[in-house]
Amino acid sequence: MHVALHYLGVYGVGALKDIALTIVSTILSIILGVLAAAGRLYGPKALQIAIAWYVEIIRGLPAILQLFIIYFGFDQIGIHFSPLMAALIWLVAYGVGYAVEIFRAGLMDVAQGQREASAALGLSPSTTMRKIVFPQALVAMLPPLTSFVVLQLKNTTLLYLVGFADVMYEARLGVDATNQAGPLYVMAAVVYLIISLVIGRIGMRMERRAAAYR
């Protein structure tokens, strides 16, 4: 048996960690992202500006620098995060920055006439958002959301730098131990590719369902 195949087991565990982290951070990013997008569009001026700046900062700083600031930077001032905690905080902080823009674009994509028609029928602003605007915005948001989830999955590979034992981390360790860079990295690549293909499939299916009326 090829030496690389001994790593299948740890790759599996690493992949599960990556998947779990992607799912949890995506869910949290989406929830916070929806709220932030609503704040960005309809909130008080100060909040709008604060959120706009948050997006600029997240988008403008290299991802790896954000991670290092959270893990190593905060350690300097006495706040110590475990690799898992740092990973989660970073992925959510980073994810919200992107999710805000996706949701904002989606909400703005819904025609003004829809809101007017809804208001003219006496529907409250919250019902309008829930029943009229959001379902339509979702159709515009799903394709970038799918890409976003894949991006988050790929971001997890950076986490080996803070010692989070995912697929990438195990691949690095394996290469150091066995000198089999080719097979081990290709195996890692296959793992990430399979997961992102599955995410793409799920996204496509949701898209088709949400856009059935078009």
Partner: protein, 271 residues
């Protein structure tokens, strides 16, 4: 038409920023009266009826409707008042604005269920009755995208009627329709008029205005140029601005000739 005034606008003025939309508009609408507002584009007709159900705020003047008194300016209208107005005043838009992600019958059932908390079965039954009325019961389960413009507008009328409004506002309901589909929508509106619905209608269909409206208002250059009984205003307008507008819409070939003549004259001058 009775003597109860249900809408009373007094000196209403509206601006978008520094741009004047309409000024000093005063108008009374009685119960069961049909008021048609006609006039050239950009006169402020659509914005005016949108101010009546407060889709837009207005800047000056007062508006009394359905027992509420609204004043122009920045002051916010209480949520409950706004809700009451929206519930009792129905609106039909130029662009239909049906909810594309809901089927025809869901479009009609939504507001009664959400706003009036009507049970689903009852809402469905009433929606079906409305669809029968406009001749579209067989379209109930399809999405608006699959309907023609005329069908979409008839569904939009049903959607507004499902809330049992006391006043209906029509904002150029046939402007987006192919000519052969205009009739079916006008038919539905005419039927409402006969049943005694109070209506304000912005339209470019002069013949229809004459036939269905009790009162015609001609708006031009951001104000009311003339108003009065439909036949009187449309057949023998008194003000010059109204005469000018009507001669243009009622005799389009003449207007086209004038236009060509004016152009030729001005170009000739250039050369």
């Amino acid at each position: 038409m009775s003597n109860d005034v249900v809408v009373s606008a007094r000196n209403m003025t509206k601006r978008f920023g520094n741009t004047l939309v309409f000024k000093d508009v005063s108008l009374d609408v009685h119960k069961s009266e049909v008021v048609a507002i006609v006039g050239p584009s950009g006169a402020g007709k659509s914005t005016f009826i949108r101010c009546i159900n407060r889709l837009h705020p207005f800047d000056e003047g007062t508006l009394e409707l359905l027992g509420h008194r609204l004043t122009g300016g920045k002051a916010k209208v209480p949520r409950a008042v706004l809700q009451d107005i929206h519930t009792r005043v129905g609106m039909v838009f130029q662009t239909f604005n049906l909810f594309p992600h809901l089927t025809v019958i869901e479009n009609i059932m939504l507001a009664p269920m959400e706003v009036k908390k009507m049970p689903r079965a009852e809402a469905r039954e009433r929606a079906m009755a409305l669809l029968e009325m406009v001749g579209l019961p067989h379209k109930r389960d399809i999405y608006p995208k699959r309907l023609s413009g005329g069908e979409q507008q008839r569904v939009a009328i049903c959607r507004a009627l499902a809330m049992e409004p006391e006043i209906m506002l029509f904002d150029e309901p046939t402007s987006m329709l192919d000519p052969e589909l205009v009739g079916e929508v006008l038919g539905a509106i005419q039927r409402l008029a006969r049943e005694g619905m109070t209506m304000l209608l912005v339209t470019h269909e002069m013949a229809f205005a004459k036939e269905v409206a009790d009162t015609v208002v001609i708006m031009a250059d951001h104000e009311i140029a003339e108003m009065g009984p439909a036949c009187e205003v449309l057949e023998s307008p008194k003000t010059e601005r109204a005469q000018q507008f009507l001669s243009r819409v009622l005799k389009p070939e003449q207007a086209a000739d004038d236009f060509v003549a004016a152009r030729t004259a001005s170009q000739g001058g250039d050369r």
